[in-house]
Structures are given as structure tokens and as C-alpha cells.
Symmetry: C2
Subunit: 234 residues, 2 copies
DNA sequence: TCTCCTTGTTGAACGTGTTCAAAATAGAAA
DNA sequence: TTTCTATTTTGAACACGTTCAACAAGGAGA
């Protein structure tokens, strides 16, 4: 529904149409030929506009990815929300979110590599930790907030509050693995999910016990500490 | 000493000189102006050669990074080896390796972002999981093998054999954090090291206890399973 | 010294992402 | 309708990474 960073205006009916046209064409070509093989000239031509027009709506070729990313999240949400509504167990809910994530992104497997590539650059607005992608990050974490709250877990306060963020990081790890996964049908990624979700779940259940908390308390303190944003050096 | 993937020959005294000249000039410029701001034309001109000559020795601009990476590892090794020789405790050894890693790379903080950016791309030869960078990966893991073996820990066999690899992943995590760290003097990264090393160390110590092994066994099995390389789909 | 093949070097040319001044087209106000 | 401004659209031009056919230098064997 909403784009991550509105790279450009669309103040007219006509404008919105053009913008949509360009994005749609770009994503088609990306899926078809891959990101690198698709030139801005090809996108413009296929969309029936001039090159410069594409740059009027999207600051750069990379910004097309950003738009794609937002769209992907919406699709993921649409797929997993109904499934989530009829599952209460924590590991089951977690597995649903992760599997639908991979399934939704699967048509863009090759393409997603570029996404992560640019996302890893601290200078890029696509970087998931950047202020620019605060909305995307918020949405991602919110989904896991929903996973946790819907599961009715009994958890210590500190764990409870950081868990959605930690699960979001966990998801990023899964996605990173998936991107590098060249196995048939990405079977290894699914195996990773199937086997790691129970481990994570058990780890979370342990959070209540004093012995585990000996560990968790400093670990969580560290996470909280490091999440606090800092102003860069002058 | 050794380069990661010999992108090009240097079969002559003269050739080696030229190669060295280009690499040195490139790294200087990268450090000075950043990677993106440094053009191949500028490198060639500053090195006193033609553009094409740079491409004779380095397959691409990115391959200059690869050469840099190998050089950085050698420097890191040179710095931390003597320190490692006079420290037996596991957490101390671990901390030495991580801190010297960051210190060695610090002059290239901005530049390293690009390294990780390209490294995140599965298609790139710089990707640390690619067959192409097997030597680099081997060297990185070997260093942690040395950290573990020199610490004289009593560990279960399965943990013992996977630990160097896991510590290497841990290091990658630290470096990833460092790259995104904009705090003054990267103070947060050092805090992360100071606080996470004891946690990791305690976690490792726990590996001997049966209760912990209830967890570790399936987790390690998963790691071992997923590390096994697979042929891509046909 | 001369020959011949490997190694090293050149720079113009290509395709790419991107910019920008100028032109065309809304859409509202008169 | 006509005018006027903000919005949209254009495509040539720019800078960059990269390629390649051609040329130069080096050095081993005669």
C-alpha cells in the first residue's frame, strides 16, 4: 500500500498512472532477465516513456528496489495474516511467518540478492538500519510483535519487549541464508526453518528460568544498549 | 603474502612492479576519497599507466577490493599473532583477535562498507561463502582454530570441531556491526566486543553440561548439515 | 645479433546509470 | 475559452566501468 521513501511526487492522476506503469514494467523485466541485465533504457522503452521520466519518479535504479520491497511486504502480510489468525502456538506462528516470507519472495530469488547487496551498504537508504527505512523496519518488527502477542506466552518483561526485534533479526538471518541457497527449490532454507524454529521456541520458553536469566539479562542489556541510536561523529 | 584469487598474471619482474604500483595507488585513493569517488581513470593516471593496464592485472574494480582483503588479513595476522602467543585464556584470546581485527581495518572504515556490500552478493566472487574465496575463508577459520586450540579448552567433540567456524561467523557479525557503526571512534563496536565475548565464552563453557547439550546437539547437527555444499539445480 | 613468442601496454570505443535544460502537457483560475 | 503555473516528459549529453584490437617490450634460443 505505502512506499518506503517516496522518492518522487505523483500529484496527478496521470502521474500516478505513469509511476505505476514504470514500476510494473521494471519488476516484470527484473523477474524476467534479472536486475543487472535490465537497463534503465529497456525499462523506459518497455514502459513507453523516456529514460528521464523514470528518473522523475524513481531517484535511481536502486530506488525501484525499494518500491519493490514495500510491495513485497504488503503481499507477505496479506498471505500470512489469515493463516496467523487460526494458529495460537508460538512455534507454529513463527514458522508460518517465515515460510510465507520465503514463498512470497521466491519468484524474485535472483533479484533479491541485489536487494540484500545494496541493503548491506550503510550509506544506502535501503539499509534496514537506516532512518530512511524506519517504516519498513517498523512494519517488519510489528509483524513479530503480532506473532508474540497472539501466542500468549508468559515471559519476563525485558525478554517480552525485545523479542519482536530479535525475531526480526532472526528473519533477516533466514532471508540471508535463502539468498545464498542454490539448492533445488531452496529445500535447505525450508530445512533451516523447520529445524531452527523449534530451537528458537525452546530458547524462548527457557527465558523464564533463573539459570537462563543469568545469561539473558546481560545479553538483553547489550541488545538494548546497542539499539539506541547515536549521532555520528562531528 | 598471498592473493585470494589471482585475477591476473605477473610473470615478470616488471609486471610485479606494475601490479604493485596499481594496487598501492588504488588503496591510497580509496582511503583518501572513498571507493565510489575513485575512478579507474584516476587510479590509472595516478599510477602512471593506461586504464587498460589496470584491467590487465585486476579483472574489475571490485577485484581490487579482493586484493585489499587478502592484504588486510595478512596484516591482521601479523598484529595479533604475537599478542596471541602470550595469552592462554579463551576469552582473552578471542578478544585479542576481534579487537585487532577492528583496529587493523579501521583506516578503511568507509571503504569496508563496499567490501561487505559486494560480499553480500551471492554472485560475487568476493562473497565469503563462494568457492572462489575458499582460501580467505580457510584462513579466517584457521585463525579461530588457533584461538581455540591454544586455549586448551575441554570440549565435546562435536562442539570442538564446529567452534572455529562458529567463531568466524561471530566475527563476521562483529564486522558487520562495525561497518554500520557511526559512533565516535566506533566506541559501540568495542563495547559490543567487550560485552559479548564474556557471553560467548560462558556459552562455550556450558557446552560440557548435559542440559546445555540437549540444545546444542540438534543445533550443531543443523549447522553441520547446512555447511555441506550442494550442487545448484540443473 | 637476429628471430619469435610471450608478456605487457595503450587508448579509443562501447554500454551503462544518471543529469538537466528545455519542451509539452495538465489543471485550475480568469 | 484563454491564461498561467505547476507538473510531467523528453532525449541529448556526461561520467563512469569495461573491452579489445593493436602495438611495444622482454627475453630465450639460434
Amino acid at each position: 500500500m505505502e512506499e518506503v521513501t517516496e522518492a518522487a511526487p505523483a500529484k496527478t492522476r496521470k502521474g500516478e498512472q505513469t509511476r505505476e506503469q514504470i514500476l510494473e514494467t521494471a519488476l516484470d523485466l527484473f523477474r524476467e532477465k534479472g536486475y543487472e541485465q535490465t537497463t534503465m533504457r529497456a525499462i523506459a522503452q518497455a514502459a513507453g516513456v523516456a529514460v528521464g521520466n523514470a528518473y522523475y519518479y524513481f531517484r535511481s535504479k536502486e530506488h525501484l528496489i525499494q518500491a519493490f520491497y514495500g510491495r513485497l511486504h504488503d503481499e507477505h502480510l496479506a498471505v500470512c495474516a489469515p493463516l496467523l489468525a487460526r494458529q495460537r502456538g508460538f512455534p507454529a506462528r513463527l514458522k508460518i511467518v517465515l515460510k510465507t516470507k520465503i514463498e512470497t519472495a521466491m519468484p524474485y530469488h535472483r533479484f533479491s540478492a541485489i536487494l540484500f547487496k545494496t541493503a548491506a551498504d550503510p550509506a544506502s537508504p535501503l539499509n534496514p538500519f537506516s532512518p530512511d527505512s524506519e517504516p519498513t523496519r517498523r512494519q517488519g518488527i510489528d509483524l513479530f510483535e503480532e506473532v508474540v502477542s497472539g501466542a500468549g506466552l508468559k515471559l519476563p518483561k525485558d525478554v517480552r519487549s525485545e523479542l519482536p526485534y530479535l525475531l526480526w533479526l532472526y528473519e533477516m538471518g533466514i532471508v540471508l541464508f535463502w539468498i545464498h541457497d542454490a539448492s533445488a527449490g531452496c529445500a535447505r532454507t525450508y530445512r533451516l526453518i523447520d529445524k531452527s524454529v523449534p530451537l528458537v521456541s525452546r530458547l524462548v520458553s527457557l527465558a523464564r528460568f533463573p539459570i537462563a536469566r543469568l545469561f539473558l539479562k546481560p545479553a538483553l542489556a547489550l541488545v538494548v544498549d546497542l539499539r539506541r541510536p547515536v549521532e555520528p561523529e562531528p
